[in-house]
Symmetry: C2
Subunit: 190 residues, 2 copies
Amino acid sequence: MEFFIDTISKTIQLTQADKEVFINNCLVTKLKKRQFFLQEGNVCRYAGFVSKGCLKTYTIDKNGDEHVFQIALEGWWISDMYSHLTGEPANFTIEALEDCEIVVMDIEAREKILKEVPGYERFHRILLENNYMATQRRVNSMLSSSAEERYLAFIKKYPQIVQRVPQLVIASYLGIAPESLSRIRKQLAK
Amino acid sequence: MEFFIDTISKTIQLTQADKEVFINNCLVTKLKKRQFFLQEGNVCRYAGFVSKGCLKTYTIDKNGDEHVFQIALEGWWISDMYSHLTGEPANFTIEALEDCEIVVMDIEAREKILKEVPGYERFHRILLENNYMATQRRVNSMLSSSAEERYLAFIKKYPQIVQRVPQLVIASYLGIAPESLSRIRKQLAK
DNA sequence: CGGGCCTTTGACTGGTTTCAACTTCTGTGG
DNA sequence: CCACAGAAGTTGAAACCAGTCAAAGGCCCG
């Protein structure tokens, strides 16, 4: 919880009273490896802040194959935004890759926080902007770079992830078959 | 300008006074086909609302090839968000595909509007959320669908664009070589 | 030690790209 | 109104990048 509040106060100023608003409205939940934060088809009632551990957000296509949309380490936020905003069933599944601690916030909690912590609206907007721009960059790299180039850019941008997460998850995130990623790495080793 | 204000008032309520705030702070510019709204390397000082015409937003890679990030018809917004927010040079180029009319808003204008029109912050957030979710879906379709499936989804979602925009622009948007798209269409015609 | 999951490797396949030539379409100026 | 240039679309052949399938080996954890 301290890490959660510290992270927010890196972007906006928080008084002691503000901090208590968070503490009174957010819960900490724990997930074991392979447990789900959200499953496709359920409504995403919570937005979560990863305070410990690591998760993947993915969809499952008609062939039953997984496609990783996000890999979230400490400090990242997780949710199915569409489902969370509309109340419709989620398309994403969010699953723990390690044992995790997640700070969760339901919709009422967020409304309360928005009302009681003046700067939070701004925090929220900045977070959204940053996520959007990162996703723009990702589309761009998928349009303009080869599998190898995307992998190189990935390990440069997220070296911590490479250490912790199975290759097949990274391969899926990059839109590459795991066997292909293995070959790319072999090639690069030279 | 009416179309601009009408569009905004579909999402948030606007009083007559609100409308005048927009009129007093936004300008209308015209672009002829092939002219630029923004060029890579310049700072994106304006956000634009397309009130007439059609534009493409793209990057140019190290081989000089174009990669279309967005195709914007009437009612869409255009800008290089990163450049606009940070003041850094833009990565995107935005070019008119037809003669256009664009309602432009610089940063001071937006600040003023945010201050004077209470609901605008909300409008802005909703716009951002929708764009972000659309981009999420696009990443997903690139991860999970073949070229043909992506094209089919595209014509279903944006039939108006298919009518108006050269195939090679659509091909680039989908991450397909123009020759391949031509063959896919031939195949589908049967 | 056994089992599950992950990674690697090989052989084969296939969807897309690339390159080049040709056709069609469109807009402009003589 | 026709001619022409430039842009866009089509088609074929060859090359290739990456995916698929299958099998084997490595590694961690219970």
